[in-house]
């Protein structure tokens, strides 16, 4: 087991805040899909960028779809909503009510409409999480317009592309949400500088102290 960069109490608190945010997002998505979304218990890990790349790169050259949203304020970074396998396609087709069996031959890439839909799903999920974190911690947190990031994991999480200026720390929230008969696996990762992680820990500490 890799050593965690963020201590357990803070990970537990942040995990619960993401859980609340995901619950709100699931409620919105459930209304859109007119179906219940089954959520699993979230699990939050904190790790170095290199360890995260090793972990995420287990499937190496497979292309992935991710929605990226930069956030800034009392702490800052880039948030990613990853979809595993064909989850992104399954989800947008379900939202757009497209019959997968009647799709044209090339279904390997998302159409423009499907891309827009996926970005909107990412916006709903990530904004709900940011909103919950900002509200509960009573801190300043803004987010930019989300974008779609496609390619292999090295392209998507490229430090050069994100212009971090230093090797970031990765907070990774694993949570599965599924529709009836369709497993859609998503994962949220936050890439933050060490200074930003320390600012986040400070906010979490201030909040936890209210209840000690």
């Amino acid at each position: 087991m890799e050593q965690q960069i963020v201590p357990e109490d803070y990970r537990d608190t942040l995990s619960e805040l993401f859980n609340i945010g995901m619950g709100k997002a699931a409620s919105s998505l459930s209304d859109m899909l007119n179906d219940e979304i089954i959520l699993t218990v979230p699990h939050l890990d904190s790790m170095t960028y290199d360890n995260a790349m090793r972990l995420f790169g287990a499937n190496k050259e497979l292309d992935i779809d991710a929605v990226e949203q930069k956030f800034y304020g009392d702490f800052s970074g880039s948030a990613f909503l990853f979809f595993r396998g064909k989850s992104s396609q399954e989800l947008v087709k379900r939202i757009l009510d497209i019959d997968v069996n009647n799709q044209s031959a090339d279904t390997s890439e998302l159409s423009a409409l499907e891309q827009e839909t996926l970005v909107e799903v990412g916006n709903i999920i990530l904004s709900a999480c940011f909103g919950c974190i900002a509200d509960v911690l009573d801190c300043q947190l803004e987010s930019e317009v989300p974008i779609l990031a496609c390619g292999n994991i090295h392209d998507v999480l490229s430090i050069e592309r994100m212009k971090f200026g230093e090797t970031p720390v990765v907070l990774s929230l694993s949570m599965t949400f599924s529709l009836p008969n369709k497993l859609i696996q998503g994962q949220i990762s936050l890439l933050m500088t060490t200074a930003s992680v320390n600012s986040l820990i400070k906010e979490l500490e201030r909040y936890i102290q209210l209840y000690v």
Binding site: T13, N19, G21, G23, K24, A26, E36, I37, L39, D135
Partner: protein, 121 residues
């Protein structure tokens, strides 16, 4: 409201358990609080003690709040049991209400908890 109530808090989040405990401590100094981090521990506690109030999470490792609700209800016939969950979908709320459970949305604050405890007032 009678003094010295017994409360069982069932939630895998330490933060949530801390928040509810703190609210009880500040408002009802003589109440006794027991915490359970999962459904199995909650069942064990419910087999050994009688509670007046039980707060129950939905998404937990192992048995969910929905799985354990009927068991706790059977073991604790006199207890008021309410679900406190981040999973606020209508379908989830309907499922719990069909079981007779009160349903509250996270994040938890004092007014939500006091509202639940007021059921006996």
């Amino acid at each position: 409201m009678d003094s010295c109530k017994r409360v069982l808090i069932v939630d895998d989040s330490k933060l949530t358990r801390m928040i509810i405990s703190k609210i009880i401590e500040e408002n009802f100094t003589d109440w006794v609080v027991t915490e359970a981090a999962d459904a199995t521990s909650a069942i064990e506690q419910a087999q050994q003690n009688q509670y007046d109030f039980i707060t129950l999470d939905y998404n937990m490792p192992g048995l969910s709040g929905y799985d354990v609700y009927p068991i706790l209800h059977e073991l604790q016939t006199e207890a008021h049991i309410a679900v406190f969950t981040a999973n606020i979908q209508k379908a989830v709320k309907i499922k719990f209400e069909a079981l007779g459970a009160s349903f509250y949305c996270k994040p938890i604050d004092q007014s939500v908890i006091l509202d639940f405890f007021a059921v006996e007032a």
